[in-house]
């Protein structure tokens, strides 16, 4: 069974530029999560989807971050414009349903210069 796929793995951009991350969850997993992981810290939830509906986006900085999950499968997370403080690893995870174990992708490491 294929795991959670994320791309790109690494991204270097200049501040004020836009950037987008893509996530393909495990087939059949209804719930999808985006996490932010700063260096030396545990991941923090940004947004959770149940199928195509964002059911928890309270930690998403909505002035510059946006996310979508079209057709309840793939998801994209966008930052526009990026700031220096956005440099971090962005992790995507999926689970079969609410409360089930979450499986993580390899993450996208973002460096904003």
């Amino acid at each position: 069974e294929a795991g959670v796929v994320q791309s790109p793995r690494y991204k270097i951009i200049e501040k004020k530029q836009p950037v987008a991350f893509w996530c393909n969850p495990i087939s059949g997993h209804n719930t999808l999560y985006w996490y932010l992981q700063n260096l030396g810290q545990g991941p923090e939830l940004l947004i959770r989807y149940e199928n195509e509906e964002a059911v928890d986006d309270s930690q998403l900085p909505k002035d510059r971050f946006s996310a979508e999950r079209l057709k309840g499968v793939d998801s994209t997370l966008k930052i526009q414009p990026a700031e220096l403080g956005d440099s971090a690893v962005y992790l995507c995870a999926s689970s079969p349903d609410r409360g089930e174990t979450q499986y993580f992708g390899p993450g996208t490491r973002l460096l904003v210069l």
Partner: protein, 114 residues
Amino acid sequence: AQTVTQSQPEMSVQEAETVTLSCTYDTSENNYYLFWYKQPPSRQMILVIRQEAYKQQNATENRFSVNFQKAAKSFSLKISDSQLGDTAMYFCAHSGGGADGLTFGKGTHLIIQP
């Protein structure tokens, strides 16, 4: 709000030894889940073990076992016969019964010395 505390930023043991990683948590929920995840230097987060709060029996997975003390809100991970490949960051995490996202601790960097 849920919180997870890992009080050991780094631990180092010799290969084949047993090591215990500590975790405490705070929650107002009665039904919840606890996890230990491993994150090697490649950064892929991997599930080590999972515990449902309603189960009194401690979870075990081969060399990995937990000591779940619900009243004390403690959830420690024991790794027996440690191996070089166990070197990684270990995160304790909590998920509420309503299936919110995971709340992670800050992690423990475990180093297995040859």
